[in-house]
Amino acid sequence: MAKEAEAETREYAYFLGCITPNRYPGIEAATKRILKEFGIGTQEMIGASCCPAPGVFGSFDMHTWLPVAARNLAIAEEMDLEIVVTCNGCYGSLQEADHLLRENTKLREKTNAILGKFGREFKGTTKVNHSIVVLHDVIGLERLKEAVTKPMTDVNVAVHYGCHFLKPREVRGHGSSETPYILEDLMQVTGAKTPEYKDKLMCCGAGGGNRTADSVQSLEWMRQKLVSAIEAGCDCMVHPCAFCHLQLDRGQTEMEQAFGVFFNFPILFTTQFLGLAMGLSEKELGLDAQTTTMPEKLLK
């Protein structure tokens, strides 16, 4: 018998969405690599589309948002696998659609009438998981800790949850949205500290079409958030959302154009930070190809 820790091999359908594969493939590479390290496979979802963005398509036409999301869920159902995501937008959209379609028969019939046009059906047989929950609950803190080869003991991490990972609580089910703990736990595994900072729970400013409606105004929310993290002595920000990553990383170039200051405050997706602590290189994690640069402290 294999060691108990190796237990069964798990497989997930990896729902990529848009920003992870098309802007920050380092997030995809880091996540696939780390899950594989712990015996977890990620299968490609052929033909998956935009989730679609919940605050955007959900704001314009929820009757289009829902069938597009349902089609993505149906692809995973056909694969007979649960879904894993690396973006809070994807998480928010797919989990909410799954929740609504399971509860409301009429809505499901209406949605399936559309999916039926191309031979698909939403059945309600998959589950939408966030990758950081898989790290925390399926792999577990003990095993993650054993894999750390480069402890981050002198690093202060500003954790940023983003909005749709925690809220609304009644759909997400991760407990309090005001005193979350999953990211703190994951950072502490590496030896890093997670100081409290003023705007820790604040939105990055990008969601709901706000970034598109008025980008300078949306960058101002983010500026305030970054300032409060820097004032608390943080060295970098770690988060679970590809869309936040786009705003927080690329947004720093746009902030420079809008406000004339370049913070160069390092932004990392959770698996990119864990990857560094497990000895993967900056290049393997795509951290050398983004706007913000990584300080020596994180790379040593």
């Binding site: 380092g26 033909g47 036409d61 829902l66 609304p168 005001e178 101002e220 795509g286």
Partner: protein
């Protein structure tokens, strides 16, 4: 046609259930939503006022308010409201009704254009394919953008729900009407 409240309950109710939207009536105008709103800190969005406008049936005023689009759907108000008003979903429903009547900016319409053209709000281009190769991934992910037959399924959805007509999408030029480069 009934009041804006009735419309919200009918339209949003179909998706979220009527009780969800009916929570609007419970609003006691305490202002806790405004107090915690990250947008209100920086913009003219006053969440409490938006709820009041909806209850007072100020249909045109609310549809024409630029700040209606400054909510990031962060759900802070939704979580904190002492009366259980499902604020964020009510805002999303107001936006749906506004969008149906043409209150939708060109940049917001363009997000739909990208999805109808490529399956993705943020599509991939040659530069990003190089980024993928640099981290050892296939140059193009196996998503709807890569598989034409799969993209057609997404397009079928947009045609069936009438999203294409709502944003004035032109299937011949694959962009908004009047926007194609000559």
């Amino acid at each position: 046609m009934g009041t804006l409240y009735d419309e919200l309950v009918d339209y949003g109710g179909e998706v979220f259930g009527r009780e969800h939207l009916e929570t609007l009536r419970e609003c006691v105008q305490c202002g806790k939503c405004t107090g915690g709103c990250p947008s209100g800190r920086n913009t003219a969005l006053r969440t409490r006022k938006l709820m009041q406008m909806a209850l007072l049936d100020l249909r045109e005023e609310i549809f024409n308010a630029p700040e209606l689009w400054f909510c990031s759907t962060c759900y802070t108000c939704y979580e904190r409201c002492p009366k259980g008003v499902k604020v964020t979903d009510i805002i999303r429903t107001i936006r749906n009704l506004a969008a149906k009547e043409g209150h939708m900016s060109v940049p917001h319409r363009m997000i739909g254009v990208y999805v109808m053209k490529t399956g993705h709000a943020v599509p991939i281009g040659p530069d990003q394919m190089k980024l993928r190769e640099a981290v050892g991934l296939d140059s193009q992910p196996p998503t709807a953008q890569k598989h034409k037959d799969q993209l057609e399924q997404v397009q079928t959805i947009f045609k069936t729900t009438g999203y294409d007509a709502m944003i004035d999408f032109d299937w011949d030029t694959m962009t908004l009407k009047g926007m194609a480069k000559k």
